[in-house]
């Protein structure tokens, strides 16, 4: 009976290792407040992630207040609070298991698109297993390796999102340069033609004889 329980716990331990991959890399359009929830299954897990505001249009006013971001633990306490950002990374150790809330708050009325990525990393340690079960050190090392790789992946997703934002800025600059320059030429020509027409009218005989 003991060995059967040991086998069951061993299997569960191995299965727990398999479910540490967590990938949710998504973009969300928020109007006022939007929240994303994640379940952290054991305390001590490292929650890391990042978010980037993709739709940051700075057209006529450059004092866009940015997006407020907050993380709430299942007990109701606020773990992280960022005001007026256009993107940031975060990482914390979960004090307890449960449902964590990641909220984005948009102070303005225009909808903003936010690309976010949240990763919950779990490294099995002695506390998770029963007294009779011992931990194979290679599994711990593999889990640590996996977490290191996931950290690189998280960073890459952040860079990808920022690259998308910069690309948009670049392309909009390119079209704006052409648009504004051609508009400038046309306006210049129209202004000078109007000047000539006006001066002609001033000196025209039908308007008034020697009015000037």
């Amino acid at each position: 009976m003991e060995s059967k329980w040991r086998k069951i716990w061993g299997l569960i331990g191995l299965l727990l290792l398999n479910f540490v991959n967590n990938v949710s890399s998504l973009s969300l359009t928020i109007t006022k407040v939007d929240c994303v929830y994640e379940i952290v299954r054991s305390e001590g897990d490292i929650v890391s992630g990042n978010f980037v505001v993709v739709d940051h249009h700075i057209f006529w006013s450059s004092d866009h207040p940015g997006i407020d971001f907050s993380i709430t633990s299942p007990g109701g306490g606020i773990l992280h609070n960022l005001k007026g950002t256009s993107g940031d990374k975060f990482s914390f150790k979960a004090p307890r298991s449960g449902l964590y809330q990641f909220c984005f708050h948009n102070p303005l009325s225009t909808p903003e698109t936010i690309a976010f990525y949240i990763h919950i990393g779990h490294i099995p340690n002695e506390h998770n297993l029963a007294k009779n079960e011992h931990l194979d050190p290679i599994n711990v090392k593999i889990a640590e390796l996996r977490e290191a790789l996931e950290a690189v992946t998280t960073e890459q997703k952040y860079l990808k999102a920022r690259d998308a934002v910069h690309r948009r800025t670049n392309e909009s600059t390119k079209t704006r340069v052409i648009g504004y320059t051609v508009g400038e030429y046309i306006l210049l020509t129209i202004a000078s033609v109007l000047q000539v027409v006006y001066i002609r009218r001033l000196f025209s005989k039908s308007v008034g004889y020697n009015r000037i």
């Binding site: 967590n22 998504l26 994640e38 698109t113 949240i118 593999i142 996996r146 992946t153 690309r167």
Partner: protein, 219 residues
């Protein structure tokens, strides 16, 4: 999932174990994000994916009102507008596809009108792309890997994905650099041209007005 008929009925599983087993048996659903679907209007999530990437996603309605689970409708569209997955009045589902074109893939959820109650519907979405969507079970069976070998193979897959991502970022950076340099050159050229046009137009003005006044015998 773990069946052992020799365990006597008198030995009951501790409740934590039951919950854990249930969670594990529903597979990847437990490591997903939860979203609030408002009563009116749609909530859309999107991701920019390049072509030839496997996308696998499961969704389950989590909120229960008045003893029954609320239902939602789902629609997944490709960047060109093709409808990839469309279901109405469901509580759970799964969709999987391989992306053909690169672009923004959109998955929209809205709650059906039939749900009673004033609350919002909470949906559990598990969205996996690329290496995370790989079916390791079939790989393990095909190549007869298990335990540490399988884990190392997964790590190898993750490293390859990182490498690909890095190459992609590099190519995007090169594109952006060329766009920036083009814009830089264009700004310089257009400013000089603008100065040139200014001078030409004012020269034309002066010449025209001089001719006009000479015709009018004022000069």
């Amino acid at each position: 999932m773990i069946k052992d008929s020799n365990v006597p009925m008198a030995m009951t599983f501790p409740p934590f174990l039951v919950v854990l087993l249930l969670a594990l048996s529903t597979g990847p659903l437990c490591d997903a994000i939860w979203l609030n679907i408002p009563k009116t209007g749609t909530k859309c999530v999107s991701e920019e994916i390049h072509s030839n990437v496997v996308v696998l996603s499961d969704y389950v309605v989590v909120s229960v009102e008045d003893g029954q689970t609320a239902t939602i409708a789902v629609k997944v569209t490709s960047p060109y507008g093709n409808n990839l997955h469309h279901r109405e009045n469901v509580t759970y589902g799964r969709f999987a596809f391989t992306t053909e074109e690169a672009g923004n893939y959109l998955a929209c959820f809205w709650s059906d009108n039939r749900t009673r109650g004033s609350g919002e519907v909470v949906v559990n979405i598990d969205w996996k792309t690329g290496i995370a969507a790989k079916d390791w079970e079939s790989v393990a069976r095909k190549e007869k890997l298990q335990g540490v070998e399988l884990e190392l193979r997964k790590l190898e897959g993750a490293v390859e994905a990182i490498h690909e991502n890095l190459l992609y970022l590099k190519s995007r950076e090169a594109e952006r650099r060329s766009t920036s340099e083009t814009t830089n050159a264009r700004v310089a050229w257009f400013s000089i041209m603008s100065l040139g046009i200014c001078i030409v137009v004012s020269g034309l003005q002066v010449w025209y007005l001089k001719r006009f006044f000479q015709k009018k015998k004022l000069i």
